[in-house]
Point group: C2
Chain length 345, copies 2
């Protein structure tokens, strides 16, 4: 089959890879019908050393079940399924608590010999725990929105729920990428009336306004912080959803959060050490939460509103490429020509 | 009057200071009858530069109201009152939400010309918001326990409630000082059945067991982390209450916390930067919370159990000194001869 590999920063190639086959009795083979490129794929695209490559890549996909291991009971050949960005058994303590990204037997795509999502097919471990059947046809116009359940919508939802967003909270979202915009959508779904979006790409912040942002702050750093403080009567924002992952975004987060408020991070941090002492988090009793979203936990919650058209998170996709042209999709996202790129194998 | 001043590390002196008098119509004058030394007073005692001194010190006291400004309505001359470690108006948004340490018009004792608690008298700003009347006599044997409402019991309670302790949580408390021990007591009051206390001073951990600790881990660092992980079936502790404030205690906290769990800090951090990236907090979806406890918010909640004898948090006091001998009290706490020292002006 054909699959995407990353050889290092800026070096994406589509090559022949071994056709996947069932290895464990709990596996399913899935032929990928729709995949996409994630903002977090841009981190290695920007900085990966060639010494760490080549490596498979991609962790969001919808596809058709082609074969199943003998212990798989939930799926059969021909089912259309969505895969969350972590695979998980669905039965361990953490899965049962809804934290599938900490599954005791699970893991992530494109690591340790597991296929990546940006290819023609994937061997899905622990299929019963991992996959969710989609009640639509492969050709449904809802496919882009359903694909966001594999990561970006679930991640925005995770940010908002971990942050404790509700009717009474003023929310600031940092970042106008797909996760930031779907954090806005999630905050609105959870009832927030005041949603301030910090971002400076107008086509994106315009979509953010359609998703529910009531204010847009294009300024960054101290100037952006000052602007949000003005908008919140000097007190700051009850909840801050940080959907970037770089240190300046975190610094912006504790700059705009209200005493007693919460910063919820879902942008994978590209730093390890950061300020958390008296002057940043402690003095104001700020709560810091978030992490890799257990997207699997949210699929059943979020799918109905997608199916009935209440929400249309698939609007974050503004370009489609064939698998063979995926390198151009990466380039377009890195150059901010495209917000999020759909990939058709 | 006589009052305590800190001139620098290890240099505590009792000197003549101006008698306080009413300045604002919202002030009360309080003659201090009982004060004490806090673990957090030891931070400047260990490290304060003489260039930053001399400075008044002390933030926990009970006393008798001697006079009140014309706008004070809640108290009258002769009332016995306890003061929390922050003064606050009781009426701003933050006070009404129960976060008096973020009061828009409040502040902390012994700063910016405000008296410290370790002296014969204190001018109390915003008396109606700050003070709470005690329904006992000055000579009551409950005074030590009631004095813990000014800080250490409220701080332990803050740690436990912000950490989300309940019947279903395994709790690990880091630190066997007064706040750590009262975090244990608070966790037990909130229903935790498994409470692991990390501390290595046996007289203190013995008191911790009486307060509700079910396990004691004397080891520190990696060895201590390993021990707690063993005690929790390899998963770690749902909630970690960090009652020390030094970086190794925080590192221990993220070492023992369970994926999806919460670290609640109440030890004033003696660091600003610390790990919060993928390998420490983010990867496991760990929540970090806590800060300076709004002790004022908890007085009414905690006082009934003190008054009816259900709890006896005053057991953390194991030494009493006269004000003139307070320097020896500091020395005894710094040398770990004493757990917490009561001061009689």
């Amino acid at each position: 089959m054909r699959a995407t590999l990353i050889y290092g920063a800026g070096d994406i190639r589509v090559e022949d890879a071994p056709d996947p086959s069932l290895k464990e009795t709990t596996d399913a083979l899935v032929r990928v019908t729709t995949a996409c490129i994630c903002g977090s794929d841009l981190h290695p695209y920007h900085s990966m050393s060639p010494a760490d490559g080549p490596s498979r890549i991609g962790h969001e996909f919808i596809g058709i079940v082609e074969d199943t291991g003998s212990e798989v009971t939930t799926f059969k050949k021909g089912d259309l399924v969505v895969a969350p960005f972590a695979w998980s058994d669905g039965t361990c303590d953490f899965c049962r608590e809804g934290l599938q990204t900490a599954c005791e037997h699970g893991g992530f795509w494109a690591r340790n010999g597991i296929d990546g999502g940006q290819g023609e097919a994937v061997r899905v471990p622990l299929a019963d725990g991992t996959l969710v059947k989609l009640p639509v046809e492969e050709s449904s116009p809802l496919i882009p929105s359903l694909l966001t359940l594999s990561d970006v919508y679930g991640t925005g939802w995770h940010a908002a729920t971990k942050g404790g967003v509700n009717e009474g909270t003023t929310v600031t979202v940092i970042g106008d990428g797909a996760v930031g915009l779907l954090s806005v959508l999630s905050a609105r779904e959870l009832g927030a009336e005041r949603i301030i979006l910090m971002g400076r790409h107008q086509t994106r912040t315009d979509l953010g306004r359609e998703f529910g942002a009531t204010d847009v702050v294009a300024e960054r750093g101290d100037e952006g912080v000052e602007k949000v403080r003005e908008l919140t009567g000097g007190q700051g924002s009850h909840v801050v959803l940080e959907a970037v992952g770089h240190l300046p975004a975190y610094q912006q987060a504790y700059g705009v959060v209200r005493p007693g408020g919460t910063i919820s991070r879902v942008g994978a941090p590209q730093y390890e050490e950061a300020p958390i002492g008296f002057g940043s988090l402690f003095g104001g009793n700020i709560t810091l939460t978030g992490g890799p979203a257990p997207a699997r936990a949210y699929v059943e919650t979020l799918m109905p509103s997608v199916l009935d058209g209440t929400v249309d998170p698939g609007r974050v996709f503004d370009r489609t490429v064939d698998l063979e042209d995926i390198a151009d999709g990466y380039r377009a996202m890195a150059d901010r020509e495209a917000l999020k790129v759909l990939v058709r194998p």
